[in-house]
């Protein structure tokens, strides 16, 4: 029973961290802080605008693949412990 609870708790921990990143790059950088970030530039992009139209999407893709990796390791650990 304990192994199962541990599995679920670890999963929830991953979710909280990844969703925080998800929120920060889109709602944070792309919307709430966009004006401040727009003062920073790289190349032809203003940073806030870049996050809203490019950056957030790249981070989304990376987030899912990180989650896939984390959960596959967790699944394996779970199986070994049993």
């Amino acid at each position: 029973m304990n192994i199962k609870q541990n599995y679920w708790k670890t999963n929830l921990k991953y979710l909280v961290v990844l969703l925080l990143v998800w929120f920060t790059v889109s709602f944070g950088f792309g919307i709430l802080l966009v004006d401040q970030l727009n003062k920073i530039r790289f190349g032809g992009f203003k940073l806030g605008f870049w996050f809203a139209q490019q950056g957030a999407i790249y981070v989304f893709v990376i987030l899912i693949f990180v989650y896939i990796y984390l959960m596959n390791s967790l699944d394996k650990k779970f199986k070994d412990e049993k």
Binding site: S26, I57, F65
Partner: protein, 556 residues
């Protein structure tokens, strides 16, 4: 060779491929018809999901909308991709572990109530119908534009093709056709984008290109900001919408994406729980290719348009201008009779109206690309429209045959009977959708965007709490869903159709637009469900076990 021949060749070849695939992978059981026998590899499922997801609207209209709205268009970019993170993390793996056929299946079993199931079916049908009516119209428009038939004939041809492979192949046939359709549509979208990026900025990758400098050494985005300001438009890289509204619309689109039944059901089709996560990852990667290119296309075409037409003599314009003028998508009215085109923000002086859809469709012509590229664009646009319509159709037919007939009305129906019912309801749904495509009710365009609000306000909270809370019970979930969906319907009909006394922008609650209101209705749904579940008995041991079970990986 003539353009029209090229188009017939491209469309002919791509359609023969779809039909061949549908015949090879036709469904022989309800399991195959609803969820492709749970045998779809995760990359294939990712591609199919991407094709299912990206409709004619994503393919044709989105870049144009961003082009005219600049930063404000970001709501679509973030909203329609961010939802996949929610899907992969909060929904897909658990729903796959649950392992049934449909979303109402989950809600009905988890809350152990046929009322919950019926409410879910009702929500699924409303959401899917508002969505598919718009798609059939899109199919018609695309057919008529490229094959030079009238729109109604276009809807009719589209209806026959979708009917053929959705009814025959079910989910299995649709999935593999969608894989082919994804390849066609992404190739068609990327090819002109890459060519134009190369021409304008010398960079092959459009995503980098639109942040680079043009041949004059000025950064493209700075130049565009300058042009927009000069003509009295809003600066491209900053927005007109309020921060709060941006926030609410983005959230509604994200959560709505995660709550759309035709998207969720895709994750029932893979072999294992870990494959459900993987397919969500692949799906988003495949979608991101188009979604990160679209804002680049938007910038290129906006700059091109302004530079080509603004204060230029009408007589000297390139050939494509006149061609699109004939379709009525570009309208020029020389108000001051000076023979020049004044394209400015002030409606009194402005002489040019440009439909957003042109930005993608006319791109190859503006960039002077060869005819075969335009033909591939045509095949791509058709692939986008058909794949989405087919996916939605399947949800509607399984809602009727599985959720209504098998689970509620006639539980003793045989497997064969259910399969026939599934096929018949698919036929019924196509005919109804085609009717709406030919006689579009005025509200279609307005409601497609609102389908997301409806999905966010109804399904998302019920599913998430069903997985993450063992205490959530049917009383809470059903009341939450009903209040959420009714509140959303009320706000949408009030401000979009003028029911309940109507109202204007000034009357919006807290300044939230109807497009963003789904987020508010979703929060109400969550709050109501939680409060009611506190005062009613927790679900019994059997349900607790079901929740425990879906939280654990495959072989526990």
């Amino acid at each position: 060779m003539l353009l029209q021949y090229w188009i017939w060749i491209a469309v002919g070849i791509s359609f023969s491929i779809y039909i061949a695939i549908a015949i090879i992978s036709r469904a022989s059981s309800t399991g195959e018809f609803y969820i492709a026998g749970k045998g779809v590899p995760s990359i294939a499922n990712g591609m199919a999901t991407a094709a299912d997801w990206m409709s004619a609207a994503s393919f044709i209209s989105m870049a144009g909308i961003i082009s005219f709205n600049g930063y404000d268009g970001s709501v679509y970019l973030m909203g329609w991709t961010g939802g996949y993170v929610l899907l992969a993390l909060l929904l897909a793996p658990y729903l796959r572990k649950f392992g049934k056929f449909t979303v109402p299946d989950f809600i009905g079993d988890r809350y152990h109530s046929n009322i919950a199931r019926s409410v879910a079916v009702f929500c699924a049908l409303i959401v899917s119908f508002t969505y598919i009516a718009g798609q059939m119209r899109g199919v018609g428009v695309v057919f008529s534009r490229y094959l030079e038939v009238d729109i109604n004939t276009g809807v009719f041809i589209g209806m026959l093709i979708v009917l053929f492979y959705a009814v025959l192949g079910g989910m299995k046939g649709i999935t593999y056709t969608q894989v082919a359709q994804y390849c066609v549509l992404i190739f068609a979208f990327m090819l002109p984008a890459i060519f134009i990026s190369l021409m304008v900025t010398g960079n092959v990758i459009p995503q980098i290109g639109f942040g680079s400098a043009g041949s004059d050494g000025i950064y493209l985005l700075d130049k565009l900001d300058g042009l927009e300001r000069e003509l009295g438009f809003h600066k491209y890289t900053s927005g007109k919408k309020s921060t709060l509204d941006m926030f609410f619309i983005t959230a509604a689109l994200m959560v709505g994406t995660a709550g759309l039944p035709h998207v969720i059901v895709r994750f029932f089709t893979v072999k294992k729980v870990s494959d459900a996560r993987k397919s969500a990852g692949w799906a988003l990667l495949f979608i991101a290719i188009l979604y990160t290119t679209a804002p680049a296309v938007a910038v290129f075409s906006r700059t091109n348009l302004i530079e080509t037409v603004s204060n230029k003599s009408y007589a000297d314009l390139p050939e494509w201008f006149e061609k699109w003028e004939r379709t009525g998508l570009i309208i020029y009215d020389d108000k001051n009779q000076d023979g020049l085109i004044q394209y400015v923000a002030d409606p009194e002086v402005n002489e040019l109206k440009v439909d957003a859809d042109i930005m993608v469709l006319a791109n190859p012509e503006i960039a002077n690309l060869p005819n075969w590229v335009i033909a591939i664009m045509a095949a791509g646009a058709l692939a986008a429209a058909l794949s989405t319509a087919a996916g939605l159709l399947l949800v509607i037919s399984s809602s009727v045959s599985h959720d209504l007939i098998k689970k509620i009305i006639k539980p003793d129906v045989s497997e064969k009977g259910e399969l026939i019912a599934a096929r018949l309801s698919a036929v019924g749904a196509v005919v109804l959708a085609a009717y709406f495509g030919i006689n579009p009710p005025g509200f279609v365009a307005a409601t497609v965007a609102l389908a997301f609000g409806l999905a966010a306000a109804s399904f998302f909270p019920a599913i998430v709490m069903g997985i993450f809370s063992k205490k959530m019970n049917k009383e809470g979930a059903v009341t939450g869903m009903l209040i959420g969906v009714l509140l959303m319907l009320f706000y949408m009909t009030k401000f979009k159709f003028g029911w309940f006394g109507g109202g204007t922008e000034k009357d919006w609650w807290f300044g939230i637009s109807p497009e963003g209101f789904g987020t508010f209705a979703m929060m109400v749904n969550f709050a109501v469900s939680i409060i009611i579940s506190k005062y009613t008995p927790a679900p019994d041991g059997e349900i607790q076990e079901l929740v425990e079970n879906i939280r654990n990986p495959d072989d526990s």
